[in-house]
């Protein structure tokens, strides 16, 4: 739920471009690690398998407490898409000892803020509270880790809320529809083809028993880890965790099938027609992600390529496509080198008035071809790395961002202790490696292209609007 501050200011914004919303942290930054992390980060595991990672940050008397479950939308099965996210909503609907609404009431009474998020790879819950409230937050989270009520009447209300969320997030946003459809075409077998929020028809037919099965399958201490960042002493956090989470019993987890995507054998194209003004083109190239932090090279080079293309206002897309050629009003690249499933390198943008999506696609392709043929300059790479380092330091200003970073690495199976190594690997990327990945992965047989074909709004002069856009 988006909280609104009374001090919210209505800032002018340019055309908003959609990001794959699985991640809350900008892609390049999500990858690497706080430079200062290791000295003040501590870890322990309880007998029931729950891991606890504590990072001490004593700048202010607050703490971020997060519980991460290794279950996201990619673990769902056909006909039950969206259940990971629905269960996330139901986690606020009560246990025998804390009834519906009680969780949020107690967090609020503690002076806290809380929320949760579901991604393809994981589901996570957090509270930000004054530090003396950490014990109560642990008590609440431990309680709902194993004792959720899942009342069918609450479910019946909440599933409607989730359908409203899908209408708000996807159905009425042409760019979200474009991204959803693109993903569903780029992946044909891997569960990444499914939107995190689920297909509407699956939501309409989801039953309380589906949520119960999901909960019983995945919500167990041996499938979870805590991340605590703030003004705390790690030994004290370990003791609190033992007290609250220690009594929970480990459970047998379902077997996870790999469901690998078979090789793509040729270019795929699709069109989405939706009410909008600007066309948009979104290109998705299959790309690797980090599987072996030390031995891999290509994912790091792809991160640097994304930064050289679109990492800042002086990067290539902005300089060439928006400013010099005036071909695009927006153009960007995005790539996430960390994921449990397969990776994609995205290029997307909207053409300027009078230019077409096809022309912009050609422009984006020309930028890639330029790197393939001529490589990147040394100063471009230096600049991308400077951005990376600064971003890591800026992250230290936010306890929440530090906790997110640890949690996201762990979620994809990269130990947080390797975060400095990740940064070193990024720093070591050479111009030759960037050119090599541009040549290796940006090939038509690996490409899916989606065009947004904008449809005019019906005349607004009091006429009844036609039935809603289809999806």
């Amino acid at each position: 739920m988006p909280a609104r501050e009374p001090d919210t200011v209505k800032f002018y914004q340019k055309q908003f471009m959609p990001m794959p919303y699985a991640r809350l942290i900008p892609l390049l930054l999500a990858l690497a690690a706080p430079l200062a992390a290791l000295a003040d980060t501590f870890e322990q595991q309880l007998a029931n398998g729950l891991r606890i990672i504590v990072k001490e940050d004593h700048r202010a008397p607050t703490v971020a407490h997060m519980v991460w479950y290794r279950a996201g939308s990619m673990d769902e099965t056909n006909g039950r898409t969206g259940v990971a996210h629905v269960l996330e909503h139901m986690m606020f609907k009560g246990t025998p000892s804390a009834g519906p609404g009680e969780f949020s009431r107690r967090v609020a009474a503690a002076g806290g803020r809380d929320n949760a998020f579901t991604s393809r790879d994981y589901t996570a819950y957090f509270q930000q509270v004054p530090k003396q409230q950490l014990s109560e937050m642990m008590q609440l989270e431990a309680d709902r880790m194993r004792h959720l009520t899942l009342d069918p009447r609450e479910f019946a209300h909440e599933i409607k809320v989730v359908m409203e969320e899908r209408r708000w997030r996807t159905e009425d946003r042409p760019q979200s529809l474009l991204f959803e459809q693109l993903t569903a075409v780029a992946f044909q077998t891997h569960p990444y083809r499914v939107p995190i929020i689920g297909w509407m028809n699956d939501l309409e037919n989801l039953a309380p028993a589906d949520a119960r099965t999901w909960y019983d399958d995945w919500y167990a201490p041996n499938n979870a880890y805590l991340v605590v960042v703030g003004d705390v002493e790690h030994q004290e956090v370990f003791q609190l965790a033992e007290k609250h989470y220690g009594p929970l019993e480990a459970r047998q987890l379902p077997v996870r099938k790999p469901q690998d995507e078979p090789p793509q054998l040729g270019i795929r194209r699709l069109t989405v027609r939706a009410p909008a003004e600007l066309p948009m083109v979104m290109m998705a190239y299959k790309a690797p992600v980090i599987r072996n932090v030390d031995q891999d090279v290509d994912p790091y080079a792809l991160e640097m390529l994304a930064a050289v293309l679109a990492g800042h206002d002086a990067a290539r897309f902005s300089r060439h496509l928006i400013r010099q050629q005036r071909l695009a009003v927006e153009a960007t690249a995005s790539y996430d080198s960390t994921a449990r499933g397969p990776g994609i390198f995205y290029l997307y943008g909207s053409p300027s008035e009078g230019r077409t999506a096809a022309e912009l696609e050609a422009g984006l392709r020309a930028e890639i071809a330029d790197v393939q043929e001529n490589g990147v300059a040394a100063d471009e790479l230096v600049r991308a790395k400077a951005q990376l380092i600064a971003g890591q330091i800026y992250k230290l200003d936010s306890m929440f961002a530090q906790a997110m970073e640890i949690g996201q690495l762990e979620a994809v199976g990269i130990p947080y202790t390797l975060n400095r190594r990740l940064l070193e690997k990024l720093q070591a990327v050479t111009a030759e490696q960037v050119q090599a990945v541009a040549r290796k992965y940006f090939r038509d047989p690996q490409l899916t292209v989606a065009d947004l074909d904008p449809q005019p709004l019906p005349p607004a002069s009091g006429e009844r609007a036609p039935s809603a856009l289809r999806h």
């Binding site: 739920m1 909280a3 609104r4 501050e5 009374p6 001090d7 919210t8 200011v9 800032f11 914004q13 340019k14 055309q15 200062a36 000295a39 940050d57 700048r59 202010a60 609404g101 949020s104 609020a108 002076g111 806290g112 803020r113 004054p130 019946a156 209300h157 409607k160 409203e164 969320e165 209408r167 708000w168 009410p275 909008a276 003004e277 990492g311 800042h312 206002d313 990067a315 300089r319 928006i322 400013r323 005036r326 009003v329 300027s352 008035e353 600049r383 951005q387 380092i389 600064a390 971003g391 330091i393 800026y394 200003d397 709004l457 019906p458 609007a465 036609p466 039935s467 809603a468 856009l469």
Partner: protein, 431 residues
């Protein structure tokens, strides 16, 4: 730069705690007349600088809607001796980030940089150049104008944009807060409009400079002096007109979206109003307190009518809106509207219960440390205090001001600021 070396110098400094009450804000004026607000904090090697001008959309002349945002955009896209690419490259080279924007009252430039001298100096040089020698190159003007028009046309296809515009226009029918840039108004702008807007509004008496982070007072004084040196000491500030309260109204706009977007509200609260704290406490119970608010419980939890429903006050230099907003599938828009009005009416008649009042205070006071637990949040608060001339002890006294609010205070404040005879309603996409 060696990142690992960097690491060592600040992991030691991490142990320095921030103050538990509000941070100590130092304040002075530059020789050119800009007001400066400074919080010294060496816990991280980061420096944040925000320069605000009273140059928001309310300062646009009739027929020039859009010029404030375009001016703010263009000011950083070309200075004496540097074109836009050189500016962006120089900032990127040291990892600095320039952001900001425009609202009704303010135009903001925010710079975040590493505080080491070799990083900080180039970044601050760029900011100084932006403030002192912006060029507004004609070709960049043409391009950014075209991009703005494209963005506006796109935004005007969206139900949330249509709702917001109709809502502000209805609340402020003859006031600058109710004016909006349109593709037509922006297309009609010329470069001279931007130059004129800049020279009239980006002046020293209209500027506040907020500095937070790893700098000494002496360094901060020198920095502020340099930044503001070239700002003209032009005439001070004419106050924005006081808006008249609109008559109650209801407007329906059709749209093919699956969800209807509902907004209810009226001009309600200006910065520095003594009723501010009573309204904040009351609004927490009504619709500002997330899942524990009445609106969220009634509209979302009990009936599943919406994913998000909120209410808030947006205090501005002149009375800014009180707003309730939600989205729901179009078939149930009327039910949701009726319910929302009932919840509001009930709250206006009875005020919060004693339990709700205590819960609101407990959260607002208890969560106070969370409002100040990063340099970024401190910067936001300090810039706001400086720009709106709030008392320097505003943050220190925030908890006690909240604590003093009674049920009667909330009822009284709402009866003065949220009067149903002035409530405007906009529904986009209903049936």
């Amino acid at each position: 730069m060696n990142p690992l070396k960097l690491l060592l110098c600040f992991s030691v400094a991490l142990a320095v705690p921030l103050a538990h009450s509000g941070p100590t804000i130092e304040r002075w004026q530059t020789t050119s007349g800009a007001r400066v607000f400074f919080v010294e904090n060496h816990a991280l090697p980061i420096l944040d600088v925000q320069v605000d001008f009273a140059a928001g959309t309310a300062r646009e002349r009739e027929g020039r809607a859009g010029v404030a945002a375009l001016t703010r955009e263009l000011i950083a896209l070309g200075v004496a001796g540097m074109d836009e690419t050189q500016i962006a490259s120089r900032l990127a080279d040291v990892g600095a980030r320039l952001s900001g924007g425009v609202d009704m009252d303010r135009a903001s430039l925010t710079l975040r940089t590493l505080s080491m001298a070799d990083k900080r100096a180039p970044a601050l040089d760029v900011l100084r150049a932006i403030l002192s020698t912006p060029q507004f190159p004609a070709d960049v003007f043409d391009r950014e104008k075209a991009r703005s028009v494209a963005a506006l046309k796109e935004a005007l296809t969206r139900p949330e944009t249509l709702a917001s515009r109709a809502f502000w226009s209805a609340m402020y029918p003859s006031h600058p807060y109710g004016r909006y840039a349109t593709p037509e108004s922006v297309s009609a702008l010329e470069r001279v409009d931007v130059v004129a807007f800049h020279s009239a509004n980006y002046t020293a008496p209209r500027a506040t400079v907020a500095i937070v982070g790893d700098l000494s007072r002496t360094q901060a004084e020198a920095l502020a002096e340099e930044l503001a040196a070239a700002l003209p000491p032009a005439p001070g500030l004419a106050a924005i007109a006081v808006p008249e309260l609109p008559a109650a109204s209801e407007q329906r706009i059709s749209h093919p979206a699956q969800q209807a977007h509902l907004l209810l509200g009226l001009p309600a609260l200006k910065r520095g109003d003594p009723d501010f704290f009573a309204l904040v406490v009351g609004n927490y119970s009504l619709g500002g307190g997330g899942f524990v608010s009445r609106l969220m419980k009634e509209v979302r939890d009990k009936r599943g009518l919406a994913y998000s429903v909120h209410s808030y006050f947006l205090p501005l230099a002149q009375p800014g809106p009180f707003q309730i907003g939600l989205q729901t599938k179009k078939a149930q828009a009327d039910d949701a509207l009726k319910l929302t009005r009932e919840v509001l009416q009930g709250f206006l008649e009875q005020g919060p219960s004693e339990d709700e009042l205590q819960a609101a205070k407990q959260n607002l006071i208890g969560s106070f440390p969370l409002r100040l637990d990063s340099n970024r949040k401190i910067l936001d608060s300090v810039a706001l205090i400086g720009f709106y001339r709030l008392p320097l002890d505003y943050l220190d006294r925030y908890p006690e001001n909240i604590e003093q609010v009674s049920v009667a205070d909330v009822k009284g404040a709402f009866s003065r600021h949220v009067r149903p005879q002035h409530l405007v309603t906009v529904i986009v996409g209903g049936e």
